[in-house]
Symmetry: C2
Subunit: 182 residues, 2 copies
């Protein structure tokens, strides 16, 4: 079952409120193209994020990512495509707190829990905690996932070109498609 139109507008409003609370100015035209991504799982409040893409050229992409409290962007990586290196991303926390997990030495007591019922699709547990002003760069082909803290989070992403259709998710149920009802 796809997201309802009412849900879409509710989540878009929450995304815009979070950006406003982080003092990030958004134009009316940008408000209309906020993406509410639920990765085809239809459990947006658990697995999903709000996305405002500022620019996405052949070479450079910049976005704001908005996470609700405890909301998870699921585990994935950015593979090489046709011999070109995969997407490189830097995440910079603007407000709230975000728990980021990447390949490497696992943490003993992670701050985040994967969405219930999907634990087996989360395999990397090296923990990076980002608070406002903190950032972390993810090289291509590095498995990663992240979750908003108790107050949610706004995270700026600076990257090479974004080609969501190339992302490889650990969870086979995931379809990386924008869910815009209506």
């Amino acid at each position: 079952m796809a997201m309802t139109r009412d849900d879409y507008f509710k989540y878009r409003r929450q995304t815009l409120d979070a950006l406003k609370n982080a003092s990030i100015a958004v134009t009316p035209a940008e408000e209309d193209r906020i993406e509410i991504a639920d990765f085809g799982l239809d459990e947006f409040e658990k697995t999903g994020l709000g996305i405002l893409t500022y620019v996405n050229t052949d070479r450079v992409c910049a976005k704001e990512l908005v996470l609700l409290p405890g909301q998870t962007c699921p585990e994935h990586q950015h593979p090489s495509v046709d011999g070109a290196p995969g997407k490189e991303e830097t995440f910079r926390c603007r407000s709230g707190e975000v728990y980021l997990y990447v390949s490497g030495k696992p943490v003993a007591q992670p701050k985040a829990q994967p969405p219930a019922g999907r634990e087996k699709t989360y395999s990397v547990w090296h923990e990076v905690i980002l608070r406002p002003g903190d950032q972390y760069t993810i090289r291509p082909q590095t498995l990663h996932w992240f979750q908003g803290g108790p107050q949610g989070a706004v995270v700026s992403e600076f990257s090479t070109r974004s080609t969501d259709e190339n992302d490889v998710f650990t969870d086979p149920d995931i379809q990386r498609m924008p869910e815009i009802a209506g």
Copy 2:
């Protein structure tokens, strides 16, 4: 005569205050590496800008640029280097107002005036006014310059790798060197 240490710290403080007023979180380590760029002209309040570089990898760069009221980043372009396309930049205004000039149809009554005595080194007059939430993408090899409005401005820059030493300035007096005294 190079910038004095006192001036450097004064301008760094002003840059940090502008970032704080724009609700942009900066870590203590980042405070220490704010760049106060005067382009070798030793007239920072007229020609210059404060720069916080978040990340600059082989592929992606992101910065905050801070302009004092009426302060100008002088005219330049980003050429191809060794056959690789030049730097591509997107400027997004976060606070204040910025007057950006690029190649194209000149405006009749520009909002900005070039720094006194350097008028002849400003040749492009197509005007783009950016207010918070507005942005503009500059393709490689496009001459451009910009100036802070009456309250100054904070501008995010999303770009390909930044290699300042390759920038080509219209003003032959300019040396693109960080001026950090002490």
